[in-house]
């Protein structure tokens, strides 16, 4: 796999760090895509996750390197007027629940415990390889999470919560066990910026759809299916990704500037700069 096909994951630092970051130090790419809600009225979260899955696969990460966690109760829901489909746009141009979607953790398997176990690698020996994150110290990982959240937590399937402290601790465990080279952490939920507030491990870039105290809103409803079909941040992120191909040389800076400002996003998308030299500074870019 060409290194440049993962140009998306190349860190773009400001003037001081540019020299350090222009060389990429990873050899493989992984993705962990988590949709933490279930039930019909959270259709858009499943559409978000499946759209990211589709983009990530199209850009070259194979199913063996993707962990997809979904409640998977949309396509065959009795309320779905288009059975066996999940759309991410009112124009219904793409059925993101196509023929080649491999869901690794589905239904009630999407729990906080399973996510932490996947990230830290502490899985029972009976768990199959397709459900493991088999990363090493040269892996760049994209972690995308979406669902309902609040200040410092993300709600899992209406019965559990994962806190930002837990996530930060999981990432530190990964660093200590040399399970990643760099992590790109994307989160689309309400008050999403609170989720990366406590990160203290190096080499993590985080991007959220809203600041603490703000809500992330959906982009548009589908009046035929009768649900909100995609969230705003993910919609604009996908717009950017649709223009990216394995050959393009886009950088994180491009990604950051592609996400629009408070209007039309209606919330503040924040980027945290990577913590390469153990410096922690977090100016909001937008």
């Amino acid at each position: 796999m060409r290194l440049s096909c993962c140009a998306l994951f190349i860190v773009s630092l400001w003037t001081v760090c540019k020299a350090v970051s222009s060389k990429s130090t990873h050899t493989n790419n992984w993705a962990v895509l988590v949709c933490s809600s279930r039930y019909w009225f959270n259709y858009r979260h499943v559409a978000n996750t499946l759209s990211m899955y589709r983009s990530v696969k199209r850009l070259g990460i194979p199913d063996s390197n993707i962990i997809l966690m979904l409640s998977d109760d949309m396509a065959c829901n009795a309320r779905n007027p288009r059975p066996a489909t999940v759309f991410n746009n009112e124009n219904k141009a793409i059925n993101v629940y196509g023929d080649d979607v491999e869901v690794d953790y589905r239904g009630y398997e999407v729990t906080v415990e399973n996510l932490i176990r996947v990230l830290t690698g502490r899985l029972d020996s009976s768990v199959p390889r397709s459900k493991r994150l088999l990363t090493d110290d040269r892996s760049n990982i994209l972690i995308y999470m979406t669902g309902h959240g609040g200040n410092g937590f993300l709600k899992f399937q209406d019965s559990q919560e994962i806190s930002n402290a837990e996530l930060a601790a999981a990432f530190e465990q990964m660093w200590q066990k040399k399970r990643y080279n760099e992590i790109l952490f994307l989160i689309d939920s309400c008050q999403a910026a609170s989720m990366f507030k406590l990160f203290y491990s190096p080499n993590i870039i985080a991007s959220s759809s809203s600041r603490v105290g703000e809500e992330s809103l959906s982009h548009h409803p589908d009046t035929d299916i009768g649900v909100h079909i995609i969230d705003r941040w993910t919609y604009y992120a996908l717009e950017f990704l649709e223009g990216v191909s394995p050959a393009s040389q886009v950088t994180m800076e491009n990604f950051a500037s592609a996400l629009p400002s408070d209007t039309p996003l209606l919330s503040g998308a924040i980027f945290s700069l990577p913590l390469l030299e153990k410096r922690m500074y977090d100016p909001p870019l937008l």
């Binding site: 009795a78 309320r79 007027p81 409803p221 009046t223 035929d224 009768g226």
Partner: protein, 680 residues
């Protein structure tokens, strides 16, 4: 000994003998009426500010899963509506049922029928026979890809509440059934129910569905069944052209559906251009007076607790239900017959689709509220405090009577009690209290259960016999204390009055939770009589006769008559003959009593039971108390409890002096300079 190490009784006694307590008690006893009046004024102001824009809150959707109005609504089948309406016009019930049966089968639903008959305990004047029989018909649209665990009921009765034929309501439901059958997104079964004989048919169907059995209704069991009922929507259209859609929410016994359900209906009607109303035609941006009127009418419809529509019966089982009624006829006929019906049909489509989205029963929004208009509500947190203020004077009056009955203990601080630190025990007149309870609740019991006894022996009884019988029992209950003329001591009647007032407060508080508008009505009717009654001997004979007559005029039967008179008067033309109005109101009162009784036996309303066994006994207690005669004036010597009574309580001679009423009682009856007596 440090004060905080004393046992509680001793601490209480030391407080009761303290100067602070004496001042407070003196203030209370002297100024009860004024404090009470002030509290009543505050409560009234509290009630009247409730409908204001800054106090009542704007309605909002609490359950996000509803996603109301998100899906487009495409129902547009005027052809079917007209065709079915034409077919059903001027048919009698059995022919109409066969037409509906054919239609439902043609659509492809499972069709079932149910026979029922009901024996009315009290035959109303208009009927010829006391037995009413009828037939219900219903069709089930099974959810295409879900198991039959939940159901939504879409109901249209054969006749609207006013007795007119509900042809267009049935036609709309049938064409909606035809339209819904083509859709594949139903997660719950839809049951299209067509009932006859008003609430009786719905009760018969509901009882058979839920496995209950009301005595008096005999119904065949249902052959077709679905899952647990999530919501019920009832549609009544007198004519295809209507000005407003009235959303009727009140249930039996004052139970209300979840506010989210009301909001869904109101929102979808608004979006489809239909104006909604709750008992009054002002709903979009009403003024304060309109909001107040709306709130009062809402309360007035809820207070009796009798069913206001077919939906009301389901609410008794905590199933959210609502009736949508087309009211008002446009003066000019413009456009097509179905120009109002189709938007309403689309609103129904949106409503049912919203409820289809739900995964759990509604549990977020309020169940206790008052609705001044379609889009504002007053929650229980706001309307309970004024009611509490209204009850406070009763508690204060009870406290005052208790204190006055125990005045000597308060007045003589130098008199130590026989056992150190415990307050003197006053012998409670248990026998008198028991007699009071027995007479009051006994007569209430007779009022409540004698008609049933008569029914079992005679089969059924007519309205006139019922009313005559009830009035007889009332008359006898009123005469008995008057003729017996019990004598009573001063402290005894005060304790009886205190007991009665506390019972009243408990009863009103209990009703406030069950049916708030009813509690307010009862509080208005019973507070004053219970507060100001006293036995003869305390005031002049003239005043006492006057108070007794006013007590008779404010008895529960008279209040029923007054409310009916008010209602008839407000509805009658200004030029109507006064005699006619009076006759009308009496007839209405009589019919109301019969309806309440029938509703108790057939539909599960407890209004009749509550009036007989809660309201009437309390009034009887006040009446009995006013019929007692004071055996001696408190100012006389030797007016305390008898020696035997004292010895039975274990008190000795020394205490007797303390317990005897002294002329210091005058202090609390309004004579000047109380402080000189209490400075010791």
């Amino acid at each position: 000994m440090r004060l905080h190490k004393l046992p509680r009784a001793m601490k209480l006694a030391s407080y009761l003998e303290s100067k602070h307590f004496r001042t407070a008690a003196g203030l209370l006893i002297k100024r009860t009426r004024i404090i009470g009046f002030f509290l009543y004024a505050l409560a009234t102001v509290g009630f009247f500010i409730l409908p204001r824009e800054d106090i009542s809150r704007s309605s909002y959707f609490d359950e996000n899963a509803l996603m109301t109005g998100l899906a487009t609504r495409q129902f547009d089948d005027a052809v079917t509506v007209n065709r079915v309406a034409m077919a059903l016009r001027d048919l009698d019930q059995s022919e109409a049922i066969s037409v509906i049966d054919k239609e439902l089968s043609k659509i492809g639903l499972e069709v079932y029928q149910q026979n029922f008959s009901a024996l009315l305990p009290i035959a109303l004047v208009q009927q010829s026979t006391p037995t009413i029989s009828g037939r219900n018909i219903y069709g089930i649209l099974r959810a295409p890809r879900a198991s039959t665990t939940e159901a939504l009921i879409l109901s249209a009765p054969f006749h609207t509440r006013d007795g007119t034929s509900n042809v267009y309501g049935i036609a709309t439901m049938l064409s909606l059934a035809n339209y819904f059958k083509t859709k594949n997104y139903w997660a719950k079964d839809l049951v299209f129910l067509f009932t006859s004989e008003g609430e009786l048919g719905t009760e018969a169907w509901m009882d058979a569905y839920l496995g209950q059995q009301m005595p008096g209704i005999v119904a065949s069991s249902l052959q077709g069944h679905s899952g647990s009922i999530q919501a019920v929507f009832n549609l009544e259209l007198e004519s295809p052209l209507f000005d407003y859609a009235e959303i009727v929410v009140g249930g039996t016994n004052g139970i209300l559906p979840n506010l989210d359900m009301v909001n869904v209906v109101a929102h979808l009607c608004l979006v489809e251009g239909i104006q909604t109303t709750f008992h009054s035609p002002w709903s979009s941006r009403p003024t304060y007076q309109q909001s107040l009127m709306g709130m009062l009418l809402f309360g007035a419809h809820l207070a009796p607790g009798l069913p206001t529509g077919n939906h009301a019966l389901f609410l008794r089982h905590r199933i959210d239900a609502v009736t949508i009624r087309g009211v008002g006829k446009t003066q000019q006929r413009r456009g097509t017959e179905t120009q109002n019906v189709i938007p309403l049909g689309r609103a129904m489509e949106g409503i049912v689709r919203s409820f289809n989205n739900l995964l759990e029963t509604l549990h977020h929004s309020l169940y206790f509220y008052l609705l001044p208009s379609s889009w504002r509500f007053v929650s229980i947190a706001f309307y309970t405090p004024p009611f509490g203020l209204f009850l406070l004077p009763l508690v204060l009056e009870a406290l005052k009577q208790w204190l006055v009955a125990r005045v000597p203990d308060i007045l003589l601080p130098t008199q130590p009690s026989s056992t150190l630190g415990t307050p003197n025990k006053l012998p409670l007149p248990f026998s008198r209290l028991l007699a009071l309870l027995l007479v009051s609740f006994g007569s209430g019991g007779f009022l409540c259960y004698l008609p049933a006894l008569a029914c079992t022996h005679l089969g059924h009884i007519t309205l006139t016999w019922l009313v005559a019988g009830l009035l007889c029992i009332c008359g006898v209950s009123v005469l008995v204390p008057l003729l017996l003329g019990f004598t009573v001591m001063d402290y005894e009647w005060r304790i009886m009055k205190c007991f009665k007032l506390l019972l009243l407060v408990i009863m009103l508080a209990a009703f406030a939770v069950l049916n708030f508008p009813l509690a307010v009505c009862l509080a208005l009717c019973l507070s004053l009589p219970c507060t100001i009654t006293q036995p003869s001997g305390l005031s002049s004979k003239h005043t006492h006769w006057l108070s007794q007559i006013s007590l008779l005029l404010s008895s529960p039967p008279m209040w029923v008559l007054y409310f009916c008179a008010l209602y008839t008067f407000s509805l009658s033309a200004p030029s109507a003959d006064l005699n006619d109005v009076i006759v009308d109101s009496i007839t209405m009162a009589m019919t109301g009593v019969a309806m309440a009784y029938n509703a108790w036996h057939l539909l599960g309303c407890w209004l009749y039971w509550a009036m007989c066994l809660c309201v009437w006994p309390l009034w009887m207690m006040a009446w009995s108390l006013s019929c007692h005669q004071l055996v001696c004036s408190p100012k006389e010597e030797g007016c305390g409890p008898s020696k035997e009574a004292l010895q039975s309580e274990g008190l000795d001679e020394g205490d007797q002096k303390g317990l005897r009423h002294s002329k210091d009682l005058q202090v609390f009856e309004g004579s000047p300079s109380p402080t000189s007596h209490m400075a010791s």
